[in-house]
Subunit: 313 residues, 2 copies
Protein backbone atom coordinates (compact mmCIF):
# COMPACT_ATOMS: atom_id res chain seq x y z
CA UNK A 1 0.00 0.00 0.00
CA UNK A 2 1.52 3.30 -1.03
CA UNK A 3 0.53 6.92 -0.91
CA UNK A 4 -1.89 7.57 -3.70
CA UNK A 5 -3.01 3.97 -3.93
CA UNK A 6 -6.38 4.79 -2.39
CA UNK A 7 -7.09 7.40 -5.04
CA UNK A 8 -6.08 5.01 -7.81
CA UNK A 9 -8.19 2.28 -6.20
CA UNK A 10 -11.19 4.58 -6.37
CA UNK A 11 -10.44 5.25 -10.05
CA UNK A 12 -10.22 1.49 -10.61
CA UNK A 13 -13.41 0.71 -8.72
CA UNK A 14 -15.38 3.20 -10.79
CA UNK A 15 -14.16 1.49 -13.95
CA UNK A 16 -14.65 -2.09 -12.83
CA UNK A 17 -17.89 -3.39 -14.30
CA UNK A 18 -19.77 -5.76 -12.06
CA UNK A 19 -20.26 -9.17 -13.60
CA UNK A 20 -22.30 -12.00 -12.20
CA UNK A 21 -19.10 -13.94 -11.46
CA UNK A 22 -17.60 -11.22 -9.29
CA UNK A 23 -19.10 -11.03 -5.81
CA UNK A 24 -16.43 -8.61 -4.60
CA UNK A 25 -13.90 -6.71 -6.72
CA UNK A 26 -10.93 -4.52 -5.77
CA UNK A 27 -10.74 -2.88 -2.34
CA UNK A 28 -10.96 -5.62 0.28
CA UNK A 29 -8.29 -8.07 1.48
CA UNK A 30 -9.22 -10.53 -1.28
CA UNK A 31 -11.64 -10.55 -4.19
CA UNK A 32 -14.53 -13.02 -4.14
CA UNK A 33 -15.44 -14.95 -7.26
CA UNK A 34 -18.41 -17.26 -7.73
CA UNK A 35 -17.33 -20.73 -8.84
CA UNK A 36 -19.92 -22.95 -10.55
CA UNK A 37 -21.38 -25.39 -8.00
CA UNK A 38 -18.28 -25.08 -5.76
CA UNK A 39 -17.29 -22.81 -2.88
CA UNK A 40 -16.52 -19.16 -3.67
CA UNK A 41 -12.98 -18.56 -4.88
CA UNK A 42 -10.96 -15.92 -2.98
CA UNK A 43 -8.07 -14.25 -4.81
CA UNK A 44 -5.39 -11.86 -3.65
CA UNK A 45 -2.02 -10.69 -4.93
CA UNK A 46 0.92 -8.80 -3.50
CA UNK A 47 4.11 -7.51 -5.07
CA UNK A 48 7.30 -6.90 -3.06
CA UNK A 49 9.91 -4.61 -4.59
CA UNK A 50 13.50 -4.47 -3.38
CA UNK A 51 14.49 -1.07 -2.02
CA UNK A 52 10.87 -0.06 -1.56
CA UNK A 53 9.11 -2.91 0.27
CA UNK A 54 12.23 -4.55 1.65
CA UNK A 55 16.01 -4.40 1.66
CA UNK A 56 18.06 -7.47 0.99
CA UNK A 57 20.55 -8.39 3.71
CA UNK A 58 22.72 -10.03 1.06
CA UNK A 59 23.28 -6.63 -0.59
CA UNK A 60 22.76 -4.37 2.48
CA UNK A 61 24.37 -6.28 5.35
CA UNK A 62 23.75 -4.76 8.76
CA UNK A 63 20.93 -2.48 7.63
CA UNK A 64 18.11 -2.36 10.18
CA UNK A 65 15.01 -3.95 8.68
CA UNK A 66 16.93 -5.76 5.94
CA UNK A 67 16.10 -9.40 5.39
CA UNK A 68 17.65 -12.40 3.72
CA UNK A 69 16.20 -13.81 0.50
CA UNK A 70 14.75 -16.61 2.62
CA UNK A 71 12.93 -14.05 4.77
CA UNK A 72 11.73 -12.12 1.72
CA UNK A 73 10.30 -15.37 0.32
CA UNK A 74 8.57 -16.04 3.63
CA UNK A 75 7.08 -12.56 3.69
CA UNK A 76 5.96 -12.63 0.04
CA UNK A 77 3.86 -15.72 0.74
CA UNK A 78 2.79 -14.69 4.24
CA UNK A 79 1.35 -11.28 3.30
CA UNK A 80 -1.00 -13.05 0.88
CA UNK A 81 -1.89 -15.69 3.47
CA UNK A 82 -2.62 -12.84 5.88
CA UNK A 83 -5.04 -11.33 3.34
CA UNK A 84 -6.69 -14.74 3.06
CA UNK A 85 -6.93 -14.92 6.86
CA UNK A 86 -8.57 -11.48 6.93
CA UNK A 87 -11.45 -12.95 4.88
CA UNK A 88 -11.52 -16.10 7.05
CA UNK A 89 -10.69 -18.01 3.86
CA UNK A 90 -8.90 -21.32 3.38
CA UNK A 91 -5.72 -20.90 1.28
CA UNK A 92 -5.37 -23.48 -1.50
CA UNK A 93 -2.67 -22.63 -4.06
CA UNK A 94 -0.34 -19.87 -5.20
CA UNK A 95 1.53 -18.77 -8.30
CA UNK A 96 4.81 -16.85 -7.96
CA UNK A 97 6.52 -14.47 -10.37
CA UNK A 98 10.08 -13.34 -9.81
CA UNK A 99 12.28 -10.72 -11.43
CA UNK A 100 15.87 -11.60 -10.52
CA UNK A 101 18.99 -9.50 -10.72
CA UNK A 102 21.32 -11.12 -13.28
CA UNK A 103 24.14 -11.63 -10.81
CA UNK A 104 23.50 -14.40 -8.30
CA UNK A 105 19.92 -14.73 -9.45
CA UNK A 106 19.75 -18.50 -9.32
CA UNK A 107 20.94 -18.68 -5.71
CA UNK A 108 18.50 -15.92 -4.73
CA UNK A 109 15.68 -17.76 -6.48
CA UNK A 110 16.36 -20.94 -4.54
CA UNK A 111 16.43 -19.13 -1.19
CA UNK A 112 13.27 -17.20 -2.06
CA UNK A 113 11.55 -20.43 -3.00
CA UNK A 114 12.55 -22.13 0.26
CA UNK A 115 11.13 -19.15 2.18
CA UNK A 116 7.93 -19.20 0.13
CA UNK A 117 7.56 -22.90 0.81
CA UNK A 118 8.05 -22.54 4.57
CA UNK A 119 4.92 -20.42 4.83
CA UNK A 120 2.96 -22.18 2.08
CA UNK A 121 3.62 -25.62 3.58
CA UNK A 122 2.46 -24.44 7.00
CA UNK A 123 -0.99 -23.94 5.49
CA UNK A 124 -1.10 -26.84 3.04
CA UNK A 125 -0.87 -24.39 0.16
CA UNK A 126 0.63 -25.62 -3.10
CA UNK A 127 2.88 -23.48 -5.31
CA UNK A 128 1.43 -24.49 -8.65
CA UNK A 129 3.19 -22.25 -11.13
CA UNK A 130 5.12 -19.11 -11.79
CA UNK A 131 7.22 -16.98 -14.03
CA UNK A 132 10.96 -16.54 -13.50
CA UNK A 133 12.82 -13.73 -15.25
CA UNK A 134 16.19 -12.09 -14.89
CA UNK A 135 16.79 -8.44 -15.61
CA UNK A 136 19.07 -5.53 -14.81
CA UNK A 137 16.76 -4.22 -12.08
CA UNK A 138 16.44 -5.08 -8.39
CA UNK A 139 14.61 -8.12 -7.02
CA UNK A 140 10.85 -8.22 -7.57
CA UNK A 141 8.57 -10.93 -6.31
CA UNK A 142 4.83 -11.29 -6.82
CA UNK A 143 2.55 -13.90 -5.30
CA UNK A 144 -1.06 -14.48 -6.26
CA UNK A 145 -2.97 -16.68 -3.84
CA UNK A 146 -6.21 -18.58 -4.34
CA UNK A 147 -8.41 -19.79 -1.55
CA UNK A 148 -11.89 -20.98 -0.75
CA UNK A 149 -14.57 -19.41 1.34
CA UNK A 150 -15.86 -21.65 4.12
CA UNK A 151 -19.56 -22.58 4.11
CA UNK A 152 -20.08 -19.62 6.50
CA UNK A 153 -18.88 -17.27 3.74
CA UNK A 154 -16.02 -14.80 3.53
CA UNK A 155 -15.72 -11.98 6.09
CA UNK A 156 -15.34 -8.53 4.57
CA UNK A 157 -14.18 -5.16 5.87
CA UNK A 158 -17.78 -4.05 5.53
CA UNK A 159 -20.31 -5.23 8.08
CA UNK A 160 -19.34 -3.70 11.43
CA UNK A 161 -22.16 -1.93 13.28
CA UNK A 162 -22.23 0.70 16.05
CA UNK A 163 -21.95 -1.11 19.38
CA UNK A 164 -19.84 -3.94 17.96
CA UNK A 165 -16.77 -4.83 19.96
CA UNK A 166 -13.33 -4.70 18.33
CA UNK A 167 -10.73 -7.40 19.02
CA UNK A 168 -7.15 -7.91 17.95
CA UNK A 169 -5.35 -11.27 17.72
CA UNK A 170 -1.94 -10.29 19.10
CA UNK A 171 0.47 -7.60 20.30
CA UNK A 172 1.35 -4.70 18.02
CA UNK A 173 4.22 -2.37 17.15
CA UNK A 174 7.92 -2.57 16.34
CA UNK A 175 7.41 -5.09 13.55
CA UNK A 176 10.43 -3.64 11.74
CA UNK A 177 12.68 -5.35 14.30
CA UNK A 178 11.87 -8.71 12.70
CA UNK A 179 8.22 -9.67 12.77
CA UNK A 180 7.46 -8.00 9.42
CA UNK A 181 9.48 -10.77 7.75
CA UNK A 182 8.88 -13.71 10.05
CA UNK A 183 5.25 -13.45 11.19
CA UNK A 184 2.90 -16.41 11.00
CA UNK A 185 -0.27 -15.34 9.19
CA UNK A 186 -3.40 -15.78 11.32
CA UNK A 187 -5.09 -18.25 8.98
CA UNK A 188 -5.91 -20.85 11.62
CA UNK A 189 -6.98 -18.21 14.15
CA UNK A 190 -9.35 -16.65 11.61
CA UNK A 191 -10.98 -20.00 10.87
CA UNK A 192 -11.35 -20.81 14.57
CA UNK A 193 -12.94 -17.41 15.24
CA UNK A 194 -15.20 -17.72 12.20
CA UNK A 195 -16.41 -21.11 13.47
CA UNK A 196 -16.97 -19.80 17.01
CA UNK A 197 -18.82 -16.53 16.44
CA UNK A 198 -20.44 -14.36 13.79
CA UNK A 199 -17.63 -12.08 12.57
CA UNK A 200 -19.20 -8.87 11.27
CA UNK A 201 -16.06 -7.42 9.67
CA UNK A 202 -12.34 -8.16 9.65
CA UNK A 203 -9.05 -6.77 8.30
CA UNK A 204 -5.39 -7.65 8.77
CA UNK A 205 -3.04 -5.02 10.16
CA UNK A 206 -0.63 -4.08 7.42
CA UNK A 207 -0.85 -0.28 7.37
CA UNK A 208 -1.12 0.04 11.17
CA UNK A 209 -3.85 -0.51 13.77
CA UNK A 210 -5.31 3.01 13.51
CA UNK A 211 -5.17 3.10 9.71
CA UNK A 212 -6.63 -0.37 9.30
CA UNK A 213 -9.43 0.18 11.82
CA UNK A 214 -10.16 3.35 9.84
CA UNK A 215 -10.38 1.27 6.63
CA UNK A 216 -12.74 -1.21 8.28
CA UNK A 217 -14.89 1.65 9.62
CA UNK A 218 -14.94 3.49 6.29
CA UNK A 219 -16.24 0.35 4.55
CA UNK A 220 -18.73 -0.32 7.33
CA UNK A 221 -20.02 3.25 7.57
CA UNK A 222 -19.26 3.72 11.24
CA UNK A 223 -16.54 5.04 13.54
CA UNK A 224 -14.49 3.44 16.30
CA UNK A 225 -13.33 4.14 19.83
CA UNK A 226 -10.10 2.41 20.85
CA UNK A 227 -9.17 1.89 24.52
CA UNK A 228 -5.54 3.00 24.91
CA UNK A 229 -4.98 0.90 28.02
CA UNK A 230 -6.25 -2.26 26.34
CA UNK A 231 -4.15 -2.23 23.18
CA UNK A 232 -1.59 -5.03 23.47
CA UNK A 233 1.88 -3.65 22.87
CA UNK A 234 4.64 -5.88 21.55
CA UNK A 235 8.01 -6.01 23.28
CA UNK A 236 9.50 -4.82 20.00
CA UNK A 237 7.45 -1.60 20.28
CA UNK A 238 9.29 -0.85 23.54
CA UNK A 239 12.61 -1.87 22.01
CA UNK A 240 12.26 0.70 19.22
CA UNK A 241 13.37 3.33 21.78
CA UNK A 242 12.95 6.42 19.63
CA UNK A 243 10.91 9.61 19.96
CA UNK A 244 7.61 7.74 19.71
CA UNK A 245 5.92 6.00 22.64
CA UNK A 246 5.30 2.25 22.58
CA UNK A 247 1.55 3.00 22.18
CA UNK A 248 2.27 5.16 19.15
CA UNK A 249 4.25 2.31 17.65
CA UNK A 250 1.39 -0.10 18.31
CA UNK A 251 -1.09 2.28 16.71
CA UNK A 252 0.96 3.27 13.71
CA UNK A 253 3.86 1.00 12.81
CA UNK A 254 1.91 -1.48 10.73
CA UNK A 255 3.05 -4.79 9.23
CA UNK A 256 1.93 -6.55 12.41
CA UNK A 257 -0.22 -8.90 10.36
CA UNK A 258 -2.53 -9.52 13.27
CA UNK A 259 -6.28 -9.43 12.64
CA UNK A 260 -8.77 -6.83 13.89
CA UNK A 261 -12.42 -7.77 13.80
CA UNK A 262 -15.85 -6.64 14.96
CA UNK A 263 -18.49 -8.77 16.66
CA UNK A 264 -21.82 -8.06 18.38
CA UNK A 265 -21.62 -7.48 22.17
CA UNK A 266 -23.10 -10.90 22.99
CA UNK A 267 -20.55 -12.62 20.76
CA UNK A 268 -17.82 -10.58 22.45
CA UNK A 269 -18.88 -12.05 25.77
CA UNK A 270 -18.63 -15.54 24.29
CA UNK A 271 -15.10 -14.80 23.08
CA UNK A 272 -14.04 -13.37 26.44
CA UNK A 273 -15.51 -16.28 28.40
CA UNK A 274 -13.77 -19.06 26.48
CA UNK A 275 -11.35 -17.54 23.95
CA UNK A 276 -11.10 -19.91 20.96
CA UNK A 277 -7.53 -18.73 20.30
CA UNK A 278 -4.64 -17.44 22.39
CA UNK A 279 -3.76 -13.76 22.41
CA UNK A 280 -7.24 -12.38 21.82
CA UNK A 281 -7.74 -8.87 23.22
CA UNK A 282 -10.77 -6.56 23.35
CA UNK A 283 -9.46 -3.16 22.25
CA UNK A 284 -12.46 -1.00 21.48
CA UNK A 285 -15.91 -0.62 20.06
CA UNK A 286 -17.64 0.69 16.98
CA UNK A 287 -19.58 3.93 17.25
CA UNK A 288 -22.20 5.54 15.05
CA UNK A 289 -20.26 8.69 14.31
CA UNK A 290 -17.62 8.38 11.60
CA UNK A 291 -14.00 8.81 12.72
CA UNK A 292 -11.53 7.34 15.15
CA UNK A 293 -11.23 8.09 18.85
CA UNK A 294 -8.81 7.04 21.54
CA UNK A 295 -9.93 6.69 25.16
CA UNK A 296 -6.96 7.41 27.41
CA UNK A 297 -6.88 8.27 31.12
CA UNK A 298 -10.68 8.56 31.15
CA UNK A 299 -10.68 11.07 28.29
CA UNK A 300 -11.66 10.67 24.67
CA UNK A 301 -9.64 12.36 21.94
CA UNK A 302 -9.68 12.14 18.14
CA UNK A 303 -7.12 9.67 16.83
CA UNK A 304 -5.53 10.47 13.49
CA UNK A 305 -5.42 7.33 11.32
CA UNK A 306 -1.61 7.88 11.31
CA UNK A 307 -1.48 6.43 7.82
CA UNK A 308 0.99 4.02 6.41
CA UNK A 309 4.41 4.25 8.00
CA UNK A 310 6.93 2.65 5.69
CA UNK A 311 9.12 -0.04 7.24
CA UNK A 312 12.18 1.27 5.41
CA UNK A 313 14.09 4.10 6.96
CA UNK B 1 10.96 -17.28 -20.41
CA UNK B 2 14.64 -16.64 -19.92
CA UNK B 3 17.83 -18.64 -20.23
CA UNK B 4 18.12 -20.85 -17.23
CA UNK B 5 14.42 -20.90 -16.54
CA UNK B 6 14.14 -24.49 -17.67
CA UNK B 7 16.80 -25.61 -15.24
CA UNK B 8 15.15 -23.72 -12.40
CA UNK B 9 11.78 -25.13 -13.43
CA UNK B 10 13.19 -28.62 -13.09
CA UNK B 11 14.53 -27.72 -9.64
CA UNK B 12 11.07 -26.41 -8.74
CA UNK B 13 9.24 -29.43 -10.09
CA UNK B 14 11.37 -31.79 -8.05
CA UNK B 15 10.50 -29.83 -4.93
CA UNK B 16 6.79 -29.44 -5.59
CA UNK B 17 4.90 -32.01 -3.57
CA UNK B 18 1.84 -33.39 -5.30
CA UNK B 19 -1.35 -32.77 -3.38
CA UNK B 20 -4.77 -34.06 -4.22
CA UNK B 21 -5.89 -30.55 -5.17
CA UNK B 22 -3.18 -30.09 -7.80
CA UNK B 23 -3.85 -31.92 -11.06
CA UNK B 24 -0.99 -30.16 -12.86
CA UNK B 25 1.78 -28.07 -11.28
CA UNK B 26 4.52 -25.92 -12.83
CA UNK B 27 5.69 -26.53 -16.40
CA UNK B 28 2.66 -26.23 -18.69
CA UNK B 29 0.86 -23.12 -19.95
CA UNK B 30 -1.37 -23.07 -16.87
CA UNK B 31 -1.63 -25.08 -13.69
CA UNK B 32 -4.76 -27.16 -13.11
CA UNK B 33 -6.43 -27.20 -9.71
CA UNK B 34 -9.37 -29.34 -8.62
CA UNK B 35 -12.26 -27.26 -7.32
CA UNK B 36 -14.83 -28.94 -5.07
CA UNK B 37 -17.88 -29.91 -7.16
CA UNK B 38 -17.06 -27.27 -9.82
CA UNK B 39 -15.01 -27.23 -13.01
CA UNK B 40 -11.22 -27.42 -12.69
CA UNK B 41 -9.55 -24.07 -12.03
CA UNK B 42 -6.75 -23.06 -14.44
CA UNK B 43 -4.16 -20.59 -13.17
CA UNK B 44 -1.31 -18.80 -14.90
CA UNK B 45 0.86 -15.77 -14.21
CA UNK B 46 3.25 -13.62 -16.18
CA UNK B 47 5.54 -10.77 -15.18
CA UNK B 48 6.70 -8.10 -17.63
CA UNK B 49 9.77 -6.09 -16.70
CA UNK B 50 10.69 -2.81 -18.37
CA UNK B 51 14.02 -2.96 -20.18
CA UNK B 52 13.97 -6.75 -20.27
CA UNK B 53 10.52 -7.82 -21.57
CA UNK B 54 9.63 -4.49 -23.18
CA UNK B 55 10.75 -0.94 -23.69
CA UNK B 56 8.46 1.93 -22.97
CA UNK B 57 7.87 4.29 -25.88
CA UNK B 58 7.22 7.09 -23.37
CA UNK B 59 10.82 6.83 -22.15
CA UNK B 60 12.44 5.44 -25.35
CA UNK B 61 10.69 7.24 -28.20
CA UNK B 62 11.55 5.90 -31.64
CA UNK B 63 13.11 2.65 -30.39
CA UNK B 64 12.15 -0.30 -32.56
CA UNK B 65 10.01 -2.70 -30.53
CA UNK B 66 9.14 -0.09 -27.89
CA UNK B 67 5.51 0.19 -26.90
CA UNK B 68 3.27 2.66 -25.13
CA UNK B 69 1.97 1.98 -21.63
CA UNK B 70 -1.38 1.16 -23.24
CA UNK B 71 0.31 -1.51 -25.38
CA UNK B 72 2.24 -2.89 -22.40
CA UNK B 73 -1.07 -3.22 -20.54
CA UNK B 74 -2.60 -5.01 -23.52
CA UNK B 75 0.34 -7.42 -23.70
CA UNK B 76 0.45 -8.09 -19.96
CA UNK B 77 -3.14 -9.32 -20.05
CA UNK B 78 -2.91 -10.98 -23.47
CA UNK B 79 0.10 -13.21 -22.70
CA UNK B 80 -1.89 -14.71 -19.83
CA UNK B 81 -5.00 -15.09 -22.00
CA UNK B 82 -2.78 -16.82 -24.57
CA UNK B 83 -1.64 -19.31 -21.90
CA UNK B 84 -5.30 -19.91 -21.05
CA UNK B 85 -6.04 -20.46 -24.76
CA UNK B 86 -3.20 -22.99 -24.96
CA UNK B 87 -5.08 -25.13 -22.42
CA UNK B 88 -8.40 -24.53 -24.23
CA UNK B 89 -9.59 -22.90 -21.01
CA UNK B 90 -12.21 -20.22 -20.43
CA UNK B 91 -10.70 -17.10 -18.82
CA UNK B 92 -12.70 -15.77 -15.86
CA UNK B 93 -10.84 -13.17 -13.79
CA UNK B 94 -7.43 -11.60 -13.25
CA UNK B 95 -5.48 -9.80 -10.54
CA UNK B 96 -2.83 -7.25 -11.50
CA UNK B 97 0.21 -6.02 -9.59
CA UNK B 98 2.15 -2.99 -10.71
CA UNK B 99 5.45 -1.45 -9.66
CA UNK B 100 5.43 2.13 -10.94
CA UNK B 101 8.28 4.57 -11.34
CA UNK B 102 7.67 7.48 -8.96
CA UNK B 103 7.62 10.08 -11.72
CA UNK B 104 4.49 9.98 -13.85
CA UNK B 105 3.37 6.76 -12.21
CA UNK B 106 -0.30 7.63 -11.94
CA UNK B 107 -0.62 8.48 -15.65
CA UNK B 108 1.24 5.27 -16.57
CA UNK B 109 -1.04 3.26 -14.29
CA UNK B 110 -4.16 4.61 -15.98
CA UNK B 111 -2.85 3.84 -19.47
CA UNK B 112 -1.73 0.35 -18.39
CA UNK B 113 -5.14 -0.29 -16.92
CA UNK B 114 -6.92 0.81 -20.10
CA UNK B 115 -4.71 -1.56 -22.10
CA UNK B 116 -5.33 -4.39 -19.65
CA UNK B 117 -9.05 -3.79 -19.89
CA UNK B 118 -9.06 -3.80 -23.72
CA UNK B 119 -7.91 -7.41 -23.77
CA UNK B 120 -9.74 -8.52 -20.63
CA UNK B 121 -13.04 -7.07 -21.85
CA UNK B 122 -12.68 -8.86 -25.19
CA UNK B 123 -12.90 -12.14 -23.28
CA UNK B 124 -15.39 -11.20 -20.58
CA UNK B 125 -12.59 -11.38 -18.01
CA UNK B 126 -12.95 -9.29 -14.87
CA UNK B 127 -10.03 -7.51 -13.20
CA UNK B 128 -10.94 -8.28 -9.61
CA UNK B 129 -8.00 -6.98 -7.63
CA UNK B 130 -4.40 -5.96 -7.54
CA UNK B 131 -1.53 -4.29 -5.82
CA UNK B 132 -0.20 -0.90 -6.86
CA UNK B 133 3.20 0.28 -5.67
CA UNK B 134 5.61 3.00 -6.61
CA UNK B 135 9.36 2.65 -6.34
CA UNK B 136 12.66 3.93 -7.71
CA UNK B 137 12.93 1.08 -10.24
CA UNK B 138 11.53 0.67 -13.75
CA UNK B 139 7.97 -0.38 -14.58
CA UNK B 140 6.96 -3.89 -13.53
CA UNK B 141 3.59 -5.45 -14.20
CA UNK B 142 2.33 -8.86 -13.18
CA UNK B 143 -0.95 -10.47 -14.13
CA UNK B 144 -2.33 -13.68 -12.64
CA UNK B 145 -5.26 -15.12 -14.56
CA UNK B 146 -7.87 -17.65 -13.44
CA UNK B 147 -9.97 -19.70 -15.79
CA UNK B 148 -12.12 -22.77 -15.99
CA UNK B 149 -11.61 -25.99 -17.88
CA UNK B 150 -14.46 -26.86 -20.21
CA UNK B 151 -16.32 -30.13 -19.62
CA UNK B 152 -13.95 -31.69 -22.20
CA UNK B 153 -11.03 -30.93 -19.89
CA UNK B 154 -7.88 -28.86 -20.30
CA UNK B 155 -5.45 -29.59 -23.15
CA UNK B 156 -1.84 -30.04 -22.04
CA UNK B 157 1.51 -29.99 -23.80
CA UNK B 158 1.66 -33.71 -23.10
CA UNK B 159 -0.48 -36.04 -25.19
CA UNK B 160 0.80 -35.86 -28.78
CA UNK B 161 1.50 -39.24 -30.42
CA UNK B 162 3.61 -40.30 -33.40
CA UNK B 163 1.52 -39.86 -36.53
CA UNK B 164 -0.43 -36.92 -35.10
CA UNK B 165 -0.74 -33.92 -37.39
CA UNK B 166 0.50 -30.52 -36.27
CA UNK B 167 -1.48 -27.36 -37.00
CA UNK B 168 -0.87 -23.70 -36.36
CA UNK B 169 -3.58 -21.02 -36.03
CA UNK B 170 -1.93 -18.17 -37.96
CA UNK B 171 1.12 -16.71 -39.72
CA UNK B 172 4.42 -16.47 -37.87
CA UNK B 173 7.53 -14.30 -37.64
CA UNK B 174 8.44 -10.63 -37.31
CA UNK B 175 6.27 -10.14 -34.22
CA UNK B 176 8.69 -7.47 -32.97
CA UNK B 177 7.29 -5.10 -35.62
CA UNK B 178 4.09 -4.76 -33.61
CA UNK B 179 2.20 -8.00 -33.10
CA UNK B 180 4.03 -8.86 -29.87
CA UNK B 181 2.14 -5.99 -28.22
CA UNK B 182 -1.14 -5.98 -30.10
CA UNK B 183 -2.00 -9.63 -30.77
CA UNK B 184 -5.40 -11.05 -29.98
CA UNK B 185 -4.99 -14.20 -27.89
CA UNK B 186 -6.53 -17.28 -29.53
CA UNK B 187 -9.02 -17.98 -26.75
CA UNK B 188 -12.08 -18.31 -28.98
CA UNK B 189 -10.16 -20.31 -31.61
CA UNK B 190 -8.96 -22.77 -28.96
CA UNK B 191 -12.49 -23.31 -27.67
CA UNK B 192 -13.86 -23.81 -31.19
CA UNK B 193 -11.11 -26.34 -31.98
CA UNK B 194 -11.61 -28.12 -28.65
CA UNK B 195 -15.34 -28.44 -29.40
CA UNK B 196 -14.70 -29.69 -32.96
CA UNK B 197 -11.98 -32.31 -32.49
CA UNK B 198 -9.99 -34.19 -29.87
CA UNK B 199 -6.92 -32.02 -29.25
CA UNK B 200 -4.08 -34.28 -28.10
CA UNK B 201 -1.65 -31.53 -27.08
CA UNK B 202 -1.38 -27.77 -27.49
CA UNK B 203 0.99 -24.87 -26.73
CA UNK B 204 1.06 -21.18 -27.57
CA UNK B 205 4.00 -19.80 -29.51
CA UNK B 206 5.90 -17.48 -27.22
CA UNK B 207 9.48 -18.75 -27.54
CA UNK B 208 9.23 -19.47 -31.29
CA UNK B 209 7.62 -22.18 -33.42
CA UNK B 210 10.63 -24.53 -33.33
CA UNK B 211 11.28 -24.06 -29.61
CA UNK B 212 7.62 -24.44 -28.66
CA UNK B 213 7.06 -27.51 -30.83
CA UNK B 214 10.16 -28.90 -29.11
CA UNK B 215 8.55 -28.22 -25.71
CA UNK B 216 5.34 -29.95 -26.78
CA UNK B 217 7.32 -32.93 -28.10
CA UNK B 218 9.51 -33.15 -24.99
CA UNK B 219 6.40 -33.35 -22.79
CA UNK B 220 4.73 -35.83 -25.14
CA UNK B 221 7.78 -38.07 -25.57
CA UNK B 222 7.92 -37.84 -29.35
CA UNK B 223 9.60 -35.84 -32.12
CA UNK B 224 8.25 -33.69 -34.94
CA UNK B 225 8.75 -33.12 -38.63
CA UNK B 226 7.81 -29.64 -39.89
CA UNK B 227 7.06 -28.98 -43.57
CA UNK B 228 9.03 -25.86 -44.53
CA UNK B 229 6.74 -25.03 -47.47
CA UNK B 230 3.63 -25.22 -45.33
CA UNK B 231 4.64 -22.91 -42.48
CA UNK B 232 2.59 -19.71 -42.81
CA UNK B 233 4.92 -16.72 -42.82
CA UNK B 234 3.69 -13.34 -41.65
CA UNK B 235 4.24 -10.24 -43.79
CA UNK B 236 6.22 -8.83 -40.88
CA UNK B 237 8.71 -11.71 -41.22
CA UNK B 238 9.49 -10.48 -44.74
CA UNK B 239 9.59 -6.88 -43.55
CA UNK B 240 12.32 -7.67 -41.00
CA UNK B 241 14.78 -7.54 -43.94
CA UNK B 242 17.90 -8.62 -42.10
CA UNK B 243 20.36 -11.51 -42.48
CA UNK B 244 17.74 -14.12 -41.58
CA UNK B 245 15.24 -15.53 -44.08
CA UNK B 246 11.49 -15.08 -43.58
CA UNK B 247 11.29 -18.82 -42.77
CA UNK B 248 13.94 -18.44 -40.09
CA UNK B 249 11.93 -15.60 -38.59
CA UNK B 250 8.79 -17.75 -38.65
CA UNK B 251 10.62 -20.62 -36.95
CA UNK B 252 12.51 -18.64 -34.37
CA UNK B 253 11.24 -15.14 -33.63
CA UNK B 254 8.63 -16.11 -31.08
CA UNK B 255 5.96 -13.95 -29.42
CA UNK B 256 3.56 -14.85 -32.23
CA UNK B 257 1.01 -16.05 -29.67
CA UNK B 258 -0.58 -18.37 -32.19
CA UNK B 259 -1.39 -21.92 -31.09
CA UNK B 260 0.28 -25.13 -32.25
CA UNK B 261 -1.59 -28.36 -31.60
CA UNK B 262 -1.56 -32.07 -32.40
CA UNK B 263 -4.53 -34.16 -33.52
CA UNK B 264 -4.95 -37.70 -34.85
CA UNK B 265 -4.86 -38.03 -38.68
CA UNK B 266 -8.63 -38.60 -38.95
CA UNK B 267 -9.28 -35.46 -36.90
CA UNK B 268 -6.85 -33.57 -39.12
CA UNK B 269 -8.99 -34.50 -42.12
CA UNK B 270 -12.05 -33.16 -40.32
CA UNK B 271 -10.25 -29.87 -39.66
CA UNK B 272 -9.07 -29.57 -43.27
CA UNK B 273 -12.50 -30.37 -44.72
CA UNK B 274 -14.43 -27.74 -42.76
CA UNK B 275 -12.01 -25.62 -40.73
CA UNK B 276 -13.80 -24.44 -37.57
CA UNK B 277 -11.64 -21.29 -37.52
CA UNK B 278 -9.93 -19.09 -40.09
CA UNK B 279 -6.18 -19.26 -40.61
CA UNK B 280 -5.70 -22.91 -39.69
CA UNK B 281 -2.66 -24.51 -41.37
CA UNK B 282 -1.27 -28.04 -41.34
CA UNK B 283 2.48 -27.63 -40.79
CA UNK B 284 3.85 -31.03 -39.87
CA UNK B 285 3.48 -34.29 -38.04
CA UNK B 286 4.68 -36.01 -34.90
CA UNK B 287 7.24 -38.79 -35.25
CA UNK B 288 8.38 -41.54 -32.90
CA UNK B 289 12.01 -40.47 -32.73
CA UNK B 290 12.78 -37.59 -30.38
CA UNK B 291 13.99 -34.37 -32.01
CA UNK B 292 12.90 -31.82 -34.57
CA UNK B 293 13.22 -32.12 -38.35
CA UNK B 294 12.48 -29.78 -41.19
CA UNK B 295 11.37 -31.11 -44.58
CA UNK B 296 12.54 -28.68 -47.26
CA UNK B 297 12.87 -29.26 -51.03
CA UNK B 298 12.16 -32.95 -50.60
CA UNK B 299 14.92 -33.39 -48.00
CA UNK B 300 14.77 -33.85 -44.27
CA UNK B 301 17.29 -32.11 -42.00
CA UNK B 302 17.59 -31.71 -38.24
CA UNK B 303 16.07 -28.45 -37.05
CA UNK B 304 17.70 -26.82 -34.03
CA UNK B 305 15.02 -25.63 -31.58
CA UNK B 306 16.53 -22.14 -32.12
CA UNK B 307 15.62 -21.31 -28.53
CA UNK B 308 14.18 -18.14 -27.21
CA UNK B 309 15.06 -15.10 -29.27
CA UNK B 310 14.49 -12.03 -27.18
CA UNK B 311 12.32 -9.33 -28.73
CA UNK B 312 14.60 -6.59 -27.46
CA UNK B 313 17.62 -5.70 -29.53
Amino acid sequence: MTTGEFAFLEWLRQRTPSTERVLLGPGDDTAILRWPRGPHCLVTTDMLLEGSCFRLAETHPGTRGAGTARQVGRKAMAVNLSDMAAMAGIPVAAVVSIGLPRKGGRALAEELYLGLRERADAFNTAIIGGDTNSWDGPLVINVALLGEATPRGAVRRKGARPGDRLFVTGPLGGSLLGKHFDFMPRVREALALHAAVDLHAMIDISDGLAADVAHLCAESGCGALLYADAIPIAEAAHAMADDRTPLEHALGDGEDFELVFAVAPAEAETLLRIPPIAGLTLIGECVAEAGLWLQENGRRRPLPPLGYVHTLE
